[in-house]
């Protein structure tokens, strides 16, 4: 392939921070919502949406400057983007690379779809809690009321 036809990197490398790669196409805004970003401390965030990927055909990429996300913060991302990978960047070099893994239990991120579930009662000191009973496709079960929640019902909550 002639050099001028080679695909160019569309977004610039970051000096320090976190790159979340292989996000399911068009889900990067959902991921930001889960991570509660951007916020006062993390202002510079670059998003690439629906770009081509060898591994998953189409993907999103997030570059978060000057913040190294902890794996505990990223576990919840697996709920909507299970194939994501994390790169921690220091001085333009990747110092750590890992895959996100969906934990057996998730807390607070999604709501139970059962209106009659105690977790939807605002008067009580309680957070939602789910057990992941299937990872592909994702099925979550409410710890309190037992209701099953499908992948589509989870995704709908971030729209």
């Amino acid at each position: 392939m002639p050099l001028e036809n080679k695909p160019k990197l569309k977004i610039k490398p970051i000096k320090n921070g976190t790159v979340i790669d292989h996000i399911t196409a068009n889900k990067s805004l959902h991921v930001l919502k889960i991570l509660n970003l951007p916020n006062k401390e993390n202002k510079n965030i670059t998003i690439a949406m629906n770009v081509s990927s060898n591994e998953i055909k189409r993907k999103d990429i997030l570059k978060i400057e000057n913040r190294e996300l902890k794996s505990s913060e990223l576990d919840q991302v697996a709920l909507i983007a299970p194939k994501s990978t994390i790169n921690i960047i220091r001085d333009y070099n990747i110092v750590k690379k890992e895959k996100i893994s969906l934990k057996d239990e998730i807390n607070s991120i999604i709501k139970c779809i059962n209106n009659k579930c105690i977790t939807n009662n605002e008067n009580e000191p309680i957070n939602s809690k789910f057990q992941i009973i299937s990872k592909a496709p994702i099925i979550a079960r409410c710890y309190y009321c037992d209701k099953l929640i499908s992948k589509d019902e989870i995704n709908k909550q971030f729209e």
């Binding site: 009659k116 579930c117 105690i118 009580e124 309680i126 309190y144 009321c145 037992d146």
Partner: protein, 306 residues
């Protein structure tokens, strides 16, 4: 060593293994004489049971109170949200914390699902779920199984039909799980609008438990040993004509079951889903079932509070 019935709380029947259920049924048999006042017991002397009934109840509440008193203990509590401080806006969590300070155990009924589970995580006294919305009602299930065992001297090998509102009826949800621990043939008989929820079917299938779904009561009435009947509630239907039409197809009367070899059970209250002409027949086990709540709940309280 196997620890049988080593529980702090009774929240869902799914927490119990078959040997736990068999054990508590045996314990209930031993308490029959005390339940009938033929013998006295002071097993729970000095213990206080807190009754948090946010939703109305007759049998469940009265049988817990009777059970506690037959064992020498006492009860305090309220029987609807209006007469409790919840009416002033106090949270369920705060109310439960107060009860925890006064009682040795708590019985909770609430229209919201998962309340007992939530409370059991935040207080240190035993919690008994006495019904949470359309969720679970585990002690009803234990007394249902006790009734079946008392009648047939076994549970394995029986053919059992759960009839009526299988979608919202919490007693049939718990019962289906528990029957799955035995070698029984289960028939789920309901209109298609009120089928057993996916959550329950998912679990049964995952545990390789087979069941049959059926809409027509007449197709199974010759096959089964137990008809476990629940009420089809008017409020589940938008159209009153539709409700009346469907309801009439699930009414148990003497004509339907005459000559058959089965028993009829019902968690009660019944309205008209079992015709009164069944009351004075050998098929009627629903009043016996209501009595059986006492020895079974005595056995449960004895295990948790002693």
């Amino acid at each position: 060593m196997v620890h049988i019935f080593n529980f702090n709380d009774i929240i869902t029947i799914k927490d119990l293994k078959r040997e736990d259920i068999d054990y508590i049924i045996d314990e209930a048999f031993k308490l029959e004489k005390v339940a009938k006042s033929e013998e006295n017991s002071d097993t729970l002397n000095g213990k206080i049971l807190g009754m948090m009934f946010f939703e109305p109840s007759t049998r469940t509440k009265l049988s817990f109170e009777t059970s506690m008193k037959r064992l020498g203990g006492e009860c305090i509590g309220f029987e609807n949200s209006i007469t409790s401080s919840v009416a002033k806006g106090e949270s369920i969590a705060d109310t439960a914390k107060m009860f925890e300070a006064y009682c040795d155990g708590l019985v909770i009924r609430h229209e919201i699902e998962g309340v007992s589970k939530f409370i059991s995580d935040i207080v240190n006294v035993p919690i008994i779920n006495a019904g949470d919305g359309a969720g679970q009602h585990p002690t009803q299930t234990l007394l249902d199984l006790y009734t079946i065992k008392k009648e047939f001297k076994k549970i394995d090998g029986l053919k059992i039909a759960l009839v009526g509102d299988l979608k919202y009826g919490r007693t049939v949800h718990s019962l289906a799980y528990a029957l799955g621990l035995y070698d029984v043939e289960m028939y789920f008989v309901s209109p298609k609008e009120l089928k057993m929820p996916n959550e329950i079917l998912h679990d049964l299938e995952k545990n390789n438990i087979s069941y049959y779904e059926e809409e027509n009561l007449k197709n199974i009435v010759d096959k089964v040993d137990v008809l476990y009947v629940t009420r089809i509630q008017k409020e589940r239907f938008g159209d009153i004509e539709e409700y009346l039409k469907i309801k009439s197809r699930y009414i148990i009367n003497k004509e339907l079951i005459n000559g058959k070899n089965l028993i009829v059970m019902h968690p009660l209250p019944r309205i008209d889903e079992i015709s009164q002409d069944v009351d004075n027949t050998k098929y009627n086990k629903y009043f016996e079932q209501a009595f059986n709540a006492v020895p079974m709940r005595m056995a449960i309280l004895k295990q948790l509070l002693k």
